[in-house]
Amino acid sequence: MYIYWYIWLFFTMSEPKKMNRRAILGTVAGVIGGLAVGAVVGWTAKPAEVGPVARTETVTQTAIRTQTVTAPQTVTRTLTVTGTLPQVGLPDRFDGVEVTVMTQPWNMCPVKHHRTNWEATTRGVVRMIEFPYAELRPKAMDDFLAKAGTYDILIFPGGLMGDYAGGGHLENLDPWIERYGFPALEDLLPATRKVAEWGGNLYAVPYDGDCHMLYYRKDVMLNPEYQRRFREEYGYPMPVPPKTWEEVLDVAKFFNGWDWDKERPGETKYGIAFIAKRGTQAQWTLLDLIAQYNVIPGTPTRYAGHMFFDPVTMTPLLNEPGAVEALKMLLELKNYAPPGLLGYGFAEFRDAYVKGGVAVLGIDWGDVGIMEFMDPASVVKGKLGYAPLPGASKVWDRQRGRWINKYNQNDYGDFGGWVMAISAYSKKKEAAFHLLRYLNDPAQSILDATGTIGCWGSNPYRYSHFDLEKWVAVGFAEDSAREYLAVIQKILSNPLHLIDLKIPGRDEYYDKLDAHLAKAFIGEETPEQAMRAVYDEWEQVTESLGRERQRRLYIESLNIRV
């Protein structure tokens, strides 16, 4: 803004001069010359080299401790938690040591709450630096590039593990855990632990166990009159909840364009809502469907158990018929969504679905379930049902190049959740590890997961987070909590759960996918054109990053058996 006033002053205060052609050319030549000289100076100043992190940790004694964790419904696990006894005890006092934690405001909430106790116990200081979501990665990369160690602990999306851990910017936590122990490692849900691993080592610990799920208005779908009408119209009973995307489509069609809850007279309500806005997280909605139509479940091998690249050729899998079919289905579903769907980022979606009750079906992470009970403006309290992602009635078998006409369902960890790690360049690693361990401890993290301390951004990532009583105590209806937790536990405990993309360049791959999805949404590209364009652009990205390196990291990140 001030620039205006400076420019204004310049024009109003300077003496009017004649500016002839020679003067203009002279000015331009001067600027170009100056820049050229500067360019030479810049060229000679090479950036700091980024190298791998060396470590010299040693491991010795081992101890066994047990913990019993009660999960909802029928699942009761007795955990044998293998931990370690410290060879050299981790100090418990860090007088005046300042540990800097960096994340986005939403995820800083638990840190703000727990730091008081940690500071009182250890005499250390927690400094918190918040950035908007879009700035998290750039700021971290700037710091890594300079090896500055500004941030001791980083809380970030698990999908960035490729850039962070793969780039050698994170501390390998395994030696620390072996030396100093860690609270209830076996309590971590398998899927969330996999996200935090890189090359078989823990370079981070889970902080938020994210996965998409299907929400549905059970008060509406269980209405006998609506069920009767649905059966008449579609020839089969109303699926509560829908098990396939084809059923989702029928339900969305049935409930679209009329007032099915009669809460506010004259309202038009819709069949389905999801995140579809360009530049937010719409690509994950599409990937929810691709996971069902294009991926055969199983242990990751060349042809099964993963969804992005062929691990032998590193060519993208997103122009396979299964992926195109998934996009076609998503575009069809869009027709039964609120008219403003393309403006729905996660905030708009949650407002519309939880506070506006605009649709029967919704797809989102676990946050909607928390908002249902915790947001005072919720109009769906106790009315939502929860289900894993619907499957598909057929799946593309790319090994044989044909459709397999059978029910296919994959659990998929969209986004990959949030993880917490220590920077390789931190100068206060002991204090950072102490704080990280404290924050991740079941005693603290259960408060985050249940929203007890007023933070809603952390979904369950430990078995112990499924303690039903704790959820009921903070205001959840018992039935709802049981169902909600069972769905999340089912998804995140599934050993064949599909892991999200986490190789370097993930954001670039996803932006390309998001851009063509956005074009398909407004009809600028057909599904075939869009997925073909995604294929071509992903190929360019892979080439630019080094095909062989990307292939190796892809295999490493998903532990694929080729």
């Binding site: 204004w8 331009v28 360019a39």
Partner: protein
């Protein structure tokens, strides 16, 4: 002032200029000739004009973003100038309550652009936003603000007009107040209508100020980023992706620093050409 001591006094300013302006500028220019992608975890490599060639021959998205930016700049600046002039003339005529109106008009200017972006994003939300709710109340059909490419473009321009018209208005109001009164009084004595006075006397006298304001607004609007970032994210499709926003994605999301730098310099050259042309014309009018 021929004493060497003057250089001592100038030294802080020179150091500041070199460290914070010239070096980054030169460094970024050198990057434009390199292949340096941070996600590749390799050192920068000199690639000559490759980045520029790729930009001119293979990157339709950049040119699409640039053409949207040009459209945005042209339309927004034209509307802001027209509205600003009308408001300035009305308020300069000494209407009742002018002072209060002047304060009200400049409030949008005090709102940070990113704040304005998020505020309008919520207000224009199609299903639950207040603007469509008001339209529906009066029986008018909801507007698809951000789901149709053209309404999304117009929506962004509308927000820009809301925020920056006050700047034009304020500057023109000050300029009108500073005009010599003699020609205006002479015209009135000769029986000229208010419109003729405006058309034949006020606007010609304001011409240098108008050109300056247009220049400032064009340069600023050309850097369009906050609104795209906060309101549309570049969508629907890629219809509202501005050149700055695209360069931001390339540089700060893809971490393709060399290519982003090359694109930035193309933008800089376009802006310099625009500025020099306008300045040249401006100087001729003085």
């Amino acid at each position: 002032m021929t004493s060497p001591i003057k250089w001592l006094f100038l030294l802080p300013a020179i150091i500041y200029l070199v460290a914070l302006t010239m070096f980054p500028l030169a460094w970024s220019l050198s990057l434009a000739f390199m292949d340096w992608k941070l996600t590749k975890a390799s050192d920068p490599q000199f690639v000559g004009l490759d980045n520029f060639i790729r930009l001119f021959t293979k990157d339709a998205r950049f040119w699409s973003a640039l053409s949207f930016t040009a459209f945005y700049v042209t339309v927004a600046a034209a509307i802001e100038l027209t509205l600003g002039l009308i408001l300035a003339v009305i308020l300069a005529s000494g209407i009742k309550g002018g002072r209060i109106l002047r304060v009200i008009y400049i409030i949008p200017l005090a709102v940070p652009p990113i704040g304005a972006a998020f505020m309008w994003r919520m207000m224009l939300q199609e299903d639950v936003g207040i603007v469509n709710a008001i339209l529906t109340f009066f029986g008018i059909e909801r507007i698809r603000w951000f789901t149709d490419p053209w309404t999304a473009r117009i929506g962004l321009i509308m927000i820009d007009v809301w925020q920056w018209t006050p700047f034009i208005f304020l500057a023109l109001l000050a300029a009108i107040r500073a005009l010599p009164v003699e020609p205006l009084e002479a015209a009135k004595v000769d029986g000229a209508s208010e419109f003729k006075v405006l058309q034949k006397i006020i606007i010609p006298l304001l011409k240098p100020v108008i050109v300056t304001l247009v220049l400032i607004r064009c340069i600023d609007a050309f850097k369009l980023f906050d609104l795209v970032y906060g309101v549309t994210g570049g969508g629907p499709g890629l219809s509202t992706e501005s050149a700055s926003f695209y360069i931001y994605l390339v540089g700060r999301s893809y971490f393709d620093l060399g290519y982003a730098s090359a694109a930035s310099y193309i933008m800089l050259i376009i802006m310099m050409a625009l500025s020099i042309t306008l300045l040249w014309r401006l100087r001729r009018t003085w």
